[in-house]
């Protein structure tokens, strides 16, 4: 469950000798949203994103056709790349939650995974999403009930729920929670329980004091 387990190893990478037009082609051909640029020894020099590649319309209008052509074919990748110093990176042994936090906080969709300055992989929002969703979703082929329970955002409440489940000898497949978006005094927990019926879950979890089952479905 670490970044190194879920990153894309051997990502496609750009070289400083590429022109902007080559980079555009390379990224389009390979359906890349992000392209780390490396020097010899896969040392991170920068990052090109689709955003950094966009030719701004304003600029387009101000350039004449010769300039556009020159811009695209002769300017090199370093004109459009985010320099390494400004690229947010992560190490391979960070947890995937850490990576998710880093991305969300910095509003970036991808993190080059760097060890000793060397690019060893790249991890994207989608990689994390696939994995985090899988963690919460568990396997699709076990009959399970997914319940969302609202409880006071105070220590001990999650334990009450887990105990209620344990008391039934039910198996927890996944469990997690977060502060309610609308009301920070409320904590929303999601739990997946296998081999039970919705009714049984409703009854047992509904009886926990101060807890309220807000959503219940087979999942």
């Amino acid at each position: 469950m670490l970044v190194q387990d879920y990153m894309t190893k051997h990502p496609l990478m750009g070289r400083l000798t590429m022109s902007i037009s080559e980079v555009q082609h390379y990224m389009a051909d390979n359906d890349l949203r992000h392209l780390p640029v490396v020097g010899d020894g896969k040392r991170l020099l920068g990052l090109v994103t689709r955003q950094s590649l966009l030719v701004e319309p304003v600029r387009l209008r101000s350039l004449d056709v010769w300039e556009i052509s020159r811009y695209l074919t002769t300017e090199s990748i370093d004109v459009v790349m985010i320099p390494a110093d400004d690229v947010i990176t992560i190490k391979g042994d960070a947890t995937i939650e850490d990576a998710a936090r880093t991305m969300v906080r910095n509003r970036v969709g991808c993190l080059p995974v760097v060890e000793d300055g060397i690019v060893v992989g790249i991890i994207t929002e989608t990689d994390l999403l696939a994995q985090l969703a899988e963690i919460m979703a568990c396997s699709a082929d076990i009959p399970a009930v997914r319940a969302t329970v609202q409880m006071p955002n105070r220590t001990g409440n999650l334990a009450k729920m887990v105990q209620a489940i344990a008391a039934q000898d039910w198996g927890i497949l996944a469990l997690g929670g977060a502060v309610n978006r609308d009301d920070p005094a409320v904590w929303d927990a999601v739990v997946k329980i296998d081999n039970v019926t919705k009714d049984a879950v409703r009854e047992v979890l509904g009886e926990v004091e101060g807890h309220r089952v807000t959503d219940l479905r087979e999942a």
């Binding site: 990478m13 896969k42 899988e134 396997s139 082929d141």
Partner: protein, 702 residues
Amino acid sequence: MAQNRWVADDSHRVQTPILEAKNLAVSYEIRDGQVNAVRDVSFKIHRGETLGLVGESGCGKSTVAFSIVRFLGKNGRITGGSIRFQGQELQDLSEREVRSLRGDQMAMVYQDPFQSLNPCMRIGDQLCEVLQEHRGLSDREASVRAIQMLDAVYMPDSAAVMRRFPHQLSGGQQQRVVIAMALLNNPALLIMDEPTTALDVTVEAVVLDLVDELRRRLDTGVLYITHDLGVISRVADRIGVMYAGEMVEVASAVDTFIRPMHPYTEGLMRCVPKLGLSKESSSLYPIRGRVPAPTALPPGCVFEPRCDYARRRCREKHPELRSVEREHLVRCHRAEEIRETEWRPSDETILDLQERLRSRSEDGSKVLEVSDLRTYYDQESKGILSLFGLGEKRQVKAVDGVSFEVGAGTTLGVVGESGCGKSTLARTIIGLESSRDGKIDFLGFDATLPLSRRDKRLIKDLQMVFQNPDSTLNPSFPVGYQIARPLRRFGKVDRARIGDEVVRLLNRVKLDGSYYDRLPRQLSGGEKQRVGIARAFATNPRLVLCDEPVSSLDVSVQAAVLNLLMEIQQEHNSPLLLIAHDLSVVRFFSDAIMVMYLGKACEIGPAEAVYAPPYHPYTEALLSAVPTADPRVEQKRIRLSGSVPSALNPPTGCRFHTRCGRKVGTICETEEPPEIGFGDQHRIYCHLPLEELEAMDAVITA
């Protein structure tokens, strides 16, 4: 929990293959023109995927590999198509850029690890050099990283290995060092050209496991080149079959083996014995003819001259590599029409042979009886004392008390890793080594005598087929002369009829009279081995010893040579002693099998009994390691650590105890294992209790 996960694949990731070859063509300039060694080859290797490239020698596999790393030499060049590495056209890159990629993002491992190692440099220095050159690490950092990498390839005592020179390591260890070196820069692509061909089956298994694990862990794309269908079945996700410089089929490993669609692939599959099958229950069908030279390709399908399904269209039109099913490409006009079940061998005699093998009866008479045979060598100590003559003389106990017998018309297979003494055993019987002790009774002769003291009759009746015919064929004399020599020497045939007899023998091994005057270098490997067989059987011997008779041959030639051996054996009713590392071949060919370890027999018995439980733990490990040419087969994963201990100082007690996974206790270290009989002459030498032996699971399940 269950295996079904909703994100079944990495479809959300970048789908660009690590390597993609499209219509690749490679030519070599030769004196009188150009050889189109590789034509129209297309394939992809995705991240974390191993593409196996198979095909007989001379089909262009290695040329493809060299064209990727731009190692084609002065006279070779890519003449068409493209190779994209990580989505970039390699041909667009400068020599400097390719060189930087080669160290950094692609790596290559060759058959011979020595080719990649500098014999004059310590392992550690060689590894660190790579890191320092590409990564600019300090000595200390490089050294730490190098040791980590040696650990990653399961090198025992990696810190010590760092200080050694290449020659101080075993072949398997050397190959692991080479793989470690290749992986130091975490390449996206690893090209391996027959990396395990020189290794024992047990070491090969470890190396193959390693490659597979590293591929999965590092997501490296692997191009794995081999002629060995068993190896490729174990290691490859997808397989590309090359023939005469063309890619003729690309499919998943399972499809390649289970539902091959190209007649050539089908043919290859018919050449290899499936592990567990015997000559009575199945036949090997060599592909007739031979691979055409790139300068003399047929006008239509290149395989047409050898194809049993060929039609007129195949002669006239060169087929394209086309997608017949999802992810299954075939270069055959008739791929959808042909049905393997409808195939009949062109050479019906093979079916006759199987029939004859099935109906043969053993008369039970013994031809060879070996009792407690011991062959020891003296070896000078290599220590400094030996310089002063003070070195203690040490004995290598190559064969150390082996007993067995071979009945008339039957084959005894002998298996075991290198260094187990199986070749020494054969050389002792044939008289090339002197035994120290024990008896060899061959039809009443005492065959413990050295060759120089043997009776002419004994020599005539006891012949041998060697692994490498080159080493026994005199390159200066024509083939006919060399077959005629034993005839002349033993006077079996009238001198005037010797020429006719030689031609008859050549025909017998399916060579025509024109070979009479050819020199060995004008022959292919298979042809040389046929000559070797013709020569061995020329004197109509009573026992033939075969030491790896087919291991250096392509599968199709192998099948033909094996069929030939069986045929001739059947004709002469001569027993055979077959030494081979290929356990499928041994199982296929032999009636009885002896498993040797460090000069001793571990297990001996009828072939089907030895290949089924109960096993000696060593047999079990060997069977677990053997690559089977069937990806559906499941094998228990038992891996021996280390290599065979030195016969100079063999372990006490049971010699296998140092590597045994089923060691009982100190008894294994102190006492010779007892013989446990299972009836029908099946014997196992092991301390394991009978119950445990009998409770063993089968290693291989289909």
